[in-house]
Amino acid sequence: MSGTFLKRFFRSKQGVMGLCIVLLNVALAFGAPAISPFGFEDMDFANTLASPGVGGHPLGTDDFGRDVFTRLVWGARVSLLVGVIAVGIGAFVGTTIGVVVGYCGGFPDALFMRLMDALLSFPYILLAIAMMATLGAGLFNAMIAIGLVMVPSFARVVRSSVLGLRNEDFVTASRVLGASGWWVISRHLIVNIMPTVIIYASLSFAGAVISEATLSFLGLGIQPPTPSWGSMLSEAMPFIDKAPLLAIFPGVAILVTCLGFNLLGDGLRDVLDPRMRS
């Protein structure tokens, strides 16, 4: 099964492209110490806000004279980690809640969904800040806070597809055969909502990276001088007129990574759908 799975995956051009982008990112993140020409804290005071190529800085320097390429590569570590872990937490907890209350219906459904609505009614960043204030600043807590903030939207999306599936005849047939709620959820519902979850997760990745940026900007996420793409973006803000490239490089990095995850998600969805085979 896994052999044919890979074979089918490699037939999807989008998926392979997405996988390449993601792998490249991962390689950059892991290889950061080896690849980067400078230390991410090293300041070159002779060349602050330098253009690309000046003074041996491939992508120029920021206002402290720190090498942008080096910081991008190191930033990939933080951004990828936050994106993957936060989306993982959000998807796992949200999907679990959505499937269970969607299938059970009735009071638990009403209770949980009102709760999720209440959470959704807060601006998400406010919620994340409140959580960070409780948990304390730091990268690990930022991942948890961003992940938990994503839970309600995952729960909503999953619940609505479960509500559709719950009344399908194959679920009824399974129940008539004697299936328990757990059997129906684990054998029928999970596989059928997986494509929705994958797509939603790949779209949420960008949001997670941006959220981390915002938290870092507010001093709640990763602590300077450790770089993340988000913090680089926000640090570049005051110089947007003098050195726009300073903001463009981390922006492009976020964009390309999100594109990679979306393509990977599309590819995975196609492979997981038996109707797309043949």
Binding site: T172, A173, V176, L177, G178, S180, N192, L272, P274
Partner: protein, 314 residues
């Protein structure tokens, strides 16, 4: 003993609820329905869509619980706490939605055994093969997915799935109405062949009177949640008593006979707001003032009809 006995069963669904979850508007899908099915027979329930015939099947299958009345299986009441029994299984109308699009054919057929943890892998595989032979499908379909099969093949898979637990009562909820005409006959023949090889009782839900007259022993005609007439197929088809049954029968196209004016007037009334008294009176050609009172249940020679026209008999 009758394998299935349905006693005064009613089912209401809440349509609208108030803030506290109390229903403010209810749909009476089935009202005080009674019938019994002898072991080994084919019992049909006919009626238009909205008559409550599928709800009856779902109640017997245990998908819904009756609001009132009771259902006896081989003399034992189907209790609320009962885990659904293997002895009643169901074949659904649309094989498109009754098979999980993301599971292999093998899983769908095997599922009943897996759920109940029956047998080891080899025994299960043997049972699956036996079921495939029974429904006339090849083993090459096992690793495939539903979308790769034709409608008829899918319905055969659904039949195999329902039979793998060796049920005694099979509920057939319009098993052919989603299929092409050419395939309908094959599936019906298959169902009848299967009945020859084992003791199996069918409860057939359909709107097609031709199927009923070919395959059924007894038949009940439902209208707006009530049984209006029931009896043996020859009684009902050859000499229908209730005006609704007569209308249904004259709606069956027959090449040897010209259609006599419109058989049933208008549409079935909303089950949310059914007419009082006899529910059929708004469309009945023989309706009179007396029909505003509930019709009597008239029993005559093994058949039963609910109609004022026949209150003189007994």
């Amino acid at each position: 003993m009758d394998i299935l006995e349905v006693r005064n069963v009613g089912k209401t669904f809440p349509v609208r609820k108030n803030l506290f979850g109390r229903p403010t508007l209810e749909l009476h899908a089935v009202r005080s329905v009674s019938f019994s099915v002898p072991r080994g027979s084919v019992f049909s329930i006919v009626g238009e869509s909205g008559s409550g015939k599928s709800t009856v099947a779902n109640l017997v299958a245990g998908v819904h619980r009756p609001t009132s009345g009771e259902i006896l299986l081989s003399g034992e009441p189907l209790k609320e706490s009962d885990r659904r029994r293997a002895c009643v299984q169901m074949v659904f109308q649309d094989p498109e939605s009754s098979l999980d699009p993301r599971k292999t054919i093998r899983f769908q057929i095997e599922e009943g055994l897996l759920i109940r943890g029956m047998g080891n892998a080899r025994e299960r595989s043997g049972r699956v093969s036996a079921m495939l032979d029974l429904v006339g499908l090849g083993r090459d379909l096992l690793p495939k997915y539903p979308h790769e099969l034709s409608g008829g093949q899918k319905q055969r898979v659904a039949i195999a799935r329902s039979l793998i637990l060796e049920p005694q009562l099979l509920l057939l909820d319009e098993p052919t109405s989603a299929l092409d005409v050419s395939v309908q006959a094959q599936i019906l023949n298959l169902l009848m062949e299967i009945r020859g090889t084992r003791t199996l009782t069918y409860l057939l839900i359909t709107h097609d009177l031709k199927i009923v007259s070919c395959f059924s022993d007894r038949v009940a005609v439902m209208y707006l949640g009530r049984i209006v007439e029931s009896g043996t197929v020859s009684d009902i088809v050859d000499s229908p008593l209730h005006p609704y049954t007569r209308a249904l029968l004259s709606a069956v196209p027959d090449p040897g006979r010209r259609m006599t004016s419109d058989p049933v007037r208008g549409e079935i009334p909303s089950p949310l707001d059914p007419p009082g008294g006899c529910a059929f009176r708004t469309r009945c050609p023989d309706a009179s003032d007396v029909c505003e009172t509930p019709p009597p249940r008239v029993l005559a020679g093994g058949r039963e009809v609910s109609c004022h026209l026949h209150s003189g008999r007994t």
